[in-house]
């Protein structure tokens, strides 16, 4: 349905709209070939994954189309669609009765599931008002280096691809506050590039969560059992109608959409929404000590709330970028602070507080979580036209006990790529295998996870449109949890067992060659080798490993190639 509509937009603009509309089309078509192997340069004996024979090889593709209608630069409308979004080449659903003669490829994603060929990801409008710009709709959210909010557009990573992208249903207004003040004061506004934005996001209208299930308690505040007739008595917590609450009620299953009432959308109590504030100075090409310099600095604040779960979380993110005479500095730091009763991981209950009701919200404190999450990335280096050196250091706080009342772990955004293997493949696989589908929100998806790292990078540009990049990554655990990152005796966390001996998670060496030709065609050849330590649970998650000095170690190798047409 959407495809014909899009085709109509693209092919018949002159007949459908007045002449002062302009059509714009951005996007790309990319293909990426991926080889994942155990051991340097691959092995035919053991696969990347323990239950796999030989190397893993696949090719994936994505067509991104972003058409727009622009009315005199005063009002614009955009769509963003992904076609064949990370779809693997070939017929992967056995559509052909004889595989050898298969002809029509399917739309199978990298998760092995058939998906919609055409996805409408974003749609938004943008228009000028006398004192600024307003943008409304389902739109990308991006800030700074993209540790927290990352649009996931284009080809902005040194290695790897963007797969996700932050998208919000948002209404946001941006303005130049100094210019407004100067105008009110009757002065000509200076072109000071200071911007302020305020917006509102609606994240959820009505969550389908496990939260409701755990709200059954068996005792009143004075310790007496809750019986029929008590103010706290809830028949949903008494499935056998014996007059007593039970923990073994049917009320603890996931709530599904059939459970909603007909006016669910009107309920304000369960909505999750947030206010967004941003202030940024964007000085590009400014004069500094006789040279041109770039200076970007700003702060981004988000206040996220849900009344029903007494959730009130403050997210703060600061960003700085400086480039002057080749000296390059860039950094982003973020923190997430606040309280919530909304994180309902299976089994992640604070048993010490179970049955105790919060005086203000009336919620069972077993669900209480105190968010205290930190993350940052800092880069420093020297950049010239033909070469550059950059030292990068980053951190994502971890959580040694996700089931307690302290919620301290969150990976950096998965579209902020660091290397090709350690975070992107290995830890992504480990977190998915250990948290399983039931706690998908805790997967790293390739983002920097529960660790701090260093990542020096060297880039050489021997000629126009050619880049050769070398990088080396080493990562150390922040708070090992004993399941995804194993504990060592000297770790400053409480662990059930301490089988690990290494201090680091491992290291990775990457090399890439990039070339742009015909102005729009991007070619990239990337390879990486990672050696991981006994910090990882290879055997329990099914990752290939070898043994050195009686300890398991991982050897992972990848060779990847991208060819893309960008427009």
């Amino acid at each position: 349905m959407l495809l014909p509509a899009l085709a109509l937009l693209l092919t018949a603009p002159a007949h459908a709209v007045p002449d002062d509309f302009e059509f714009e089309l951005e996007g790309y078509y990319r293909n990426r070939a991926i080889l994942l192997a155990d051991g340097l340069f691959g092995s035919d004996k053991v696969g990347f994954y323990a239950d796999q024979q030989g190397d893993a090889r696949m090719m994936v593709q994505r067509l991104r189309l972003q058409p727009g209608i622009n009315f005199q630069n005063r009002a614009k409308f955009f769509l963003q669609t992904d076609v064949l979004d990370d779809v693997a080449w070939g017929d992967n659903q056995s559509m052909a009765s004889t595989a050898l003669f298969a002809g029509d490829p399917t739309a199978t994603g990298t998760d092995g599931v058939e998906q919609d060929v055409f996805k409408l990801k974003r749609a938004w409008m943008e228009f000028n008002v006398p004192v600024g710009v307003v943008r409304v709709g389902r739109q990308a959210s991006s800030w700074g280096m993209g540790l927290l909010a990352n649009h996931g557009d284009g080809f902005d990573d040194t290695f790897g691809e963007n797969h996700y992208g932050s998208t919000y249903d948002r209404a946001i207004f941006a303005t130049k506050p100094i210019a407004i003040i100067q105008t009110i004061a009757g002065k000509d506004p200076d072109p000071i590039p200071l911007y302020f934005a305020v917006g509102v996001d609606r994240l959820v209208e009505d969550p389908l969560t496990q939260y409701y299930g755990f709200n059954c308690t068996t005792s009143n505040a004075d310790g007496t059992p809750i019986v029929e007739g008590d103010a706290n008595y809830d028949p949903r917590c008494d499935p056998d109608s014996d007059g007593y609450h039970t923990l073994s009620h049917e009320f603890d299953a996931d709530r599904v959409d059939e459970d909603r009432g007909p006016t669910w959308w009107a309920d304000q109590q369960d909505d999750v929404w947030e206010m967004v504030y941003a202030l940024i100075y964007r000085g590009e090409g400014i004069d500094l000590a006789g040279s041109k310099a770039d200076l970007v600095a700003g702060a981004y604040l988000v206040n996220r709330k849900q009344q029903e779960t007494a959730s009130n979380v403050l997210i703060a993110d600061a960003y700085l970028k400086f480039l002057w005479r080749g000296i390059y500095l860039e950094a982003e730091g973020l923190t997430i602070q606040g309280k919530t009763y909304a994180i309902s991981l299976p089994g992640a209950l604070n048993a010490d507080e179970a049955g105790v009701l919060d005086a203000d919200s009336g919620l069972d404190k077993a669900l209480y979580k105190d968010a205290n999450i930190w993350g940052y990335v800092a880069r420093a280096g020297y950049k010239q036209e033909g070469y550059s050196f950059v030292m990068e250091h980053g951190y994502a706080s971890g959580d040694d006990n996700p089931a307690d009342a302290e919620f301290t772990g969150r990976p950096l955004h998965p579209d902020y790529n660091v290397g090709l293997l350690l975070y992107e493949e290995v830890l992504a696989y480990v977190t998915a295998a250990t948290w399983t589908d039931s706690a998908e929100g805790l997967w790293s998806n390739g983002g920097v996870y529960n660790s701090r790292y260093i990542y020096p990078q060297v880039t050489w540009r021997p000629m126009d449109n050619w880049e050769i990049i070398g990088a080396w990554l080493m990562a150390w655990p922040d708070k090992p949890d004993g399941s995804r990152i194993l504990c060592a005796p000297d770790d400053a966390v409480e662990c059930t067992s301490t089988p690990a001996t290494a201090k680091s998670i491992g290291w990775e060496a990457d090399l890439g060659v990039k070339h742009r030709f015909h102005e729009h065609v991007l070619f990239s050849l990337e390879t990486g080798y990672a050696r991981t330590t006994d910090r990882l649970p290879y055997e329990s998650v099914g990752l290939a490993f070898t043994t050195k000095d009686g300890k398991p170690v991982g050897n992972f190798y990848t060779l990847q190639s991208r060819i893309a047409f960008e427009f």
Partner: protein, 320 residues
């Protein structure tokens, strides 16, 4: 704990009810008092697992009153042994449901293997049947006879882990047996260690179950340990954790009101699961045992009943 203290506890619990054998000591091999580990040198000691000091909550005193208890009274040395009426151990038709252990949802297309001699180590099962898409199976089963079963699904789908249960005893009926069989999903198998901060070894297995008191209710304040069935050694890799509100909890040091426990990273082989509670003098009393056999990367559901050393507590209707 001294044997006198232990004896006093046992006397208070059972001895004065039936005048039975008051000389019994706890445990096998002298380990019931929380003394030195019997697992050989260098391995974990029993104190690593049995160290509860809080009093238990449950009935461990009235097991002497159980119907059909053959011994004069359970006192820690003389375990209760139920003898079922052989006339009631008859083959009957079975209508069963294979359900997910965690969610209670039907498990589609699962294979149910039955060992009528209650021993899955002998090899091929006595009966094997594949359930339908709603987890429904029809088969032959026995009343009043402990039966071992295994539930599995297509390994290629990786949807479940092989789930064993010993001592499934159905009450006598002259009609069709209607019962349920448990299957543990791969998700549950992975998420429990995740929440507990444990990494399960692929060549080892998991034992989980409920600790029951004499009244058949979950017992709170008990601890379990897994020992080699022959040597009494505690496996070095063993991790034991307990549940709260039916969810695994890494900080819970003993069974909570739900009585649930889990033993992770148990090597393949024959084991005995022992159940202890604290005694008032600061020692520990062995109150129940159950044999277990672990297959790699599988889960065994094994409940422990106070007063029993074989895990076979028959329904009253089955007893002589």
């Amino acid at each position: 704990m001294s044997t006198i203290t232990m004896l006093a506890l046992l006397l208070a619990g059972c001895g004065d009810k039936d005048g039975g054998d008051d000389t019994g000591l706890t445990g096998d091999g002298g380990t019931g008092d929380g003394g030195t580990g019997d697992g050989g040198t260098g391995g974990p000691s029993i104190e690593d697992f049995i160290n509860v000091t809080d009093p238990y909550a449950g009935d461990i005193d009235s097991c002497c009153d159980l119907v059909g208890a053959e011994s004069d009274c359970w006192n820690g040395a003389n375990w209760i042994s139920h003898t079922p009426d052989p006339n009631l151990q008859v083959a009957s038709a079975l209508n069963g449901d294979i359900l997910d252990f965690e969610t209670g949802d039907p498990v589609a297309d699962a294979t149910l293997d039955l060992w009528f001699e209650n021993d899955p180590t002998v090899g091929a099962p006595d009966y094997s049947v594949v359930g339908d898409g709603d987890g429904y199976v029809t088969s032959t089963f026995y009343t009043c006879k402990p039966v071992a079963y295994k539930v599995s699904t297509d390994p290629a789908l990786d949807a479940t882990v092989d789930t064993y249960e010993l001592n499934q005893i159905e009450p006598y009926t002259d009609g069709t047996i209607v019962t349920e069989f448990n299957s543990v999903s791969s998700t549950t198998y992975a998420i429990i260690p995740s929440l507990l901060g444990v990494s399960p070894d692929g060549d080892k297995g998991t034992i989980a179950g409920t600790a029951y008191d004499c009244g058949g209710q979950p017992i709170e304040g008990a601890q379990i340990v897994v020992k080699d069935a022959e040597t009494g050694a505690i496996p070095e890799s063993l991790v034991v954790k307990y549940f709260v509100d039916e969810f695994p909890n890494r900080n819970q040091p003993y069974t909570s009101a739900d009585g649930l426990w889990v033993a992770i990273n148990v090597p393949e082989g024959n084991w005995v699961v022992e159940l202890y509670v604290a005694d008032p003098a600061g020692g520990h009393t062995l109150i129940g045992k159950s044999p277990a056999y672990i297959f790699p990367e599988s889960i065994l559901i094994s409940n422990i009943y106070t007063g029993f050393e074989d895990g076979k507590r028959y329904p009253d209707i089955c007893l002589l």
